[in-house]
């Protein structure tokens, strides 16, 4: 079967407005879901689930959040780590103060708290742009991490500063956090949760609010004369973005690592997520996943691939190699293809759509 849109006449604007207007894309999506829900659980081992798939999903959530702010609304932020920490500590305080709260409620509430914090730190964006805003978010990053380290209240006065997720039920006897939880349950829960959140993000970005973000990003003067309030557009982007990032931080602490200290969310984490959306594609939900997958997988690939072909590269050399490849890729994408892997993917599809008759 050939990838075509010819012959598929859209009979309504509703069909044309769909997320996947082309039939083969829809089938691809179904296939992907089948693989994610059936094939992977059947074949993936403990290592794959714990060290690759779960962090991939957590990072995807964070990348979607940052992409909303930076990719869609054009507000550069280096505070992702701080906001993730905010979500993690909010979840910890909620789960320890109200042990009966369900994990989903805890996650959503910690996202909401982070959204409020995000709006607060987003206020400078009304006055400053670009580089200066990035510096302001950097200040937020350092302030938040400092605050979580400084005040024992946030970690219930644990001497090490480490917070550990209390065991929580998903439903019935099935644990999602704590020692009795299984990696497969974690994976399936996160898969479902992230998929729903990604769908909601996609919906937002193709509706009125998403267009107001992009309008502010592309031409704030024109946005204003159309009736978009810059205040509202920017702060709503900060709120929604921080909501996602906060939940990513909470799932990191509770579901991925189980216990965490504030330093896990330092400035390096901010850059890591930023690199994901640059490589994956600014202003693309799909790109958030591609970027997260790429950055989670690259180190693993670099560790294993040379061994498979009989090369033996020293460990410290590998670490350098990783940095060099990241650096080169980021420069490549920033200069050549700011829309990242997601754009390369669309271009490939466009080529295929016209093949074998280019024009």
């Amino acid at each position: 079967m050939i990838y075509r849109e010819a012959g598929q006449f859209k009979t309504s604007y509703a069909a044309d407005q769909g997320i996947f207007p082309i039939r083969l894309d829809r089938m691809g999506m179904v296939a992907l879901l089948l693989i994610a829900y059936l094939a992977i659980p059947a074949v993936a081992n403990h290592y794959w689930l714990v060290s690759i798939l779960v962090p991939f999903l957590v990072f995807s959530m964070a990348a979607i959040g940052l992409n909303i702010l930076t990719g869609y609304a054009g507000q550069l932020s280096l505070g992702t780590g701080g906001f993730m920490a905010c979500g993690a500590f909010a979840a910890y305080k909620l789960a320890t103060a109200f042990p009966d709260l369900h994990i989903i409620i805890v996650l959503l509430l910690s996202g909401t708290i982070t959204a409020a914090v995000g709006v607060l730190f987003g206020l400078p964006s009304l006055r400053i742009k670009g580089f200066y805003l990035a510096v302001a978010t950097l200040a937020a990053q350092f302030f938040l991490i400092w605050m979580f380290n400084k005040f024992g209240w946030f970690n219930n006065y644990s001497p090490s500063g480490v917070i550990s997720a209390p065991p929580m039920h998903l439903f019935g006897d099935i644990y999602i956090t704590g020692p009795q939880s299984s990696p497969l349950v974690k994976y399936l829960f996160l898969l479902t949760f992230v998929a729903i959140m990604a769908l909601a993000a996609k919906n937002l970005t193709r509706c009125k609010i998403g267009r107001s973000w992009m309008a502010i990003r592309d031409m704030d003067i024109a946005a204003e004369i159309i009736g978009i309030r810059p205040l509202w557009a920017k702060l709503s982007a900060f709120a929604v973005s921080s909501f996602y990032i906060g939940i990513a931080g909470a799932t990191w602490a509770f579901i991925y690592t189980g216990s965490v200290e504030a330093l896990a969310f330092d400035i390096n984490r901010s850059f890591q997520v930023l690199f994901m959306i640059i490589i994956g594609g600014l202003g693309s939900i799909l790109g958030s996943f591609l970027g997260a997958g790429f950055i989670v997988l690259l180190p693993i690939f670099l560790n294993n691939a040379p061994g498979l072909v009989g090369w033996h590269i020293p460990v410290d050399m590998l670490a350098h190699l990783e940095f060099m490849i990241f650096g080169a890729l980021i420069i490549f994408f920033l200069i050549v293809e700011p829309h990242g892997l997601a754009r390369l993917w669309t271009v490939a599809k466009e080529k295929l759509r016209l093949w074998p008759f280019p024009h």
Partner: protein, 275 residues
């Protein structure tokens, strides 16, 4: 005139409904300066409902600044604006948009990363009411709302004959088409007053003719009042009902194209010199 005032004073049912030919917007003694430069110096004129009003004048005369005053970008230091019966010191961009003032810019101000369709849909921003919660759910009320506005936008796309570039990011379009999309975005707001800043600048003859046709049709079919800045005298004399002439921030003439053409000060200051 007295009649209209009486209507407003009596709090007529629809104070916003200005009858055709009456003044819908009046600028009184507008003064605007930037540091030492007086961009606009005590300029007064009115815009009548349903007309095409051209603002002309040499470069730097203050034409674009005037449009910026009308839609609230620039706040004049002195003077007042009366719009639909309400007098104020300055417009607010949001207030102007809400009350039916749309515009295009001299240096195209489109949302470059968005498609033609999305640019036009953004023009309908103020008409869309569903909140973020419904938008996140999409299927249901938000989708219904999107589709209603999509249909309205498609009518504009058909009108402007830009079907083929519906999905193209506007940053990739040639200049002439970008101007057309920008007009489309303004039309999507279904404005009462449309401010066009040099809509035909930099176009070839054919594109200019198309643009003239669109402007005239919008004016005639939807009764949209149009305020237009244009350098091409042929175009101005052809399509406008009245002309306001600015020179160095001062209004030097105001009248029908024929009156303006015959005005000695206009001939001296403008027509004689630069064209």
């Amino acid at each position: 005139m007295a009649e209209a005032d009486a209507m407003n004073a009596a709090g007529a049912v629809e104070p916003r409904d200005v009858p055709s030919g009456e003044t819908v917007l009046r600028l009184s003694d507008i003064e605007l300066g930037f540091g030492g430069v007086k961009a606009i110096n005590k300029v007064s004129f009115e815009v009548r409902k349903g007309e095409i009003l051209a603002i002309i004048g040499p470069n730097g005369a203050g034409k674009s600044s005037m449009l910026n005053v009308i839609n609230g970008f620039y706040k004049p230091q002195l003077g007042s604006i009366t719009f639909k019966g309400e007098t104020m010191r300055a417009m607010q961009p949001h207030h102007a948009a809400k009350n039916g003032i749309a515009r295009t810019f001299q240096n195209i101000a489109l949302f470059k990363g968005m498609s033609t369709l999305d640019n036009l849909m953004t023009g309908r921003m103020l008409k869309m009411k569903r909140n973020a919660f419904w938008q996140a759910l999409y299927w249901g009320p938000a989708q219904r709302e999107e589709l209603v506005h999509r249909e309205a936008v498609e009518r504009i796309i058909d009108f402007l004959e830009i079907q083929a570039i519906r999905r193209t990011p506007v940053g990739r379009l040639p200049y002439g088409l970008q101007k057309r999309v920008e007009l489309g975005r303004a039309l999507a707001m279904e404005p009462d007053i449309l401010l066009l800043d040099e809509p035909m600048a930099g176009m070839n003859v054919e594109e200019k003719e198309d643009m003239c046709r669109f402007v005239l049709e919008v004016n005639q079919e939807f009764g949209t009042t149009i305020v237009l800045i244009e350098h091409d005298m042929g175009v101005v004399m052809d399509i406008s009902d009245r002309v306001v002439v600015l020179d160095h921030g001062v209004k030097i003439a105001d009248g029908t194209p024929d009156q303006v053409r015959a005005d000695q000060r206009v001939i001296d200051a403008y027509l004689g010199v630069s064209h």
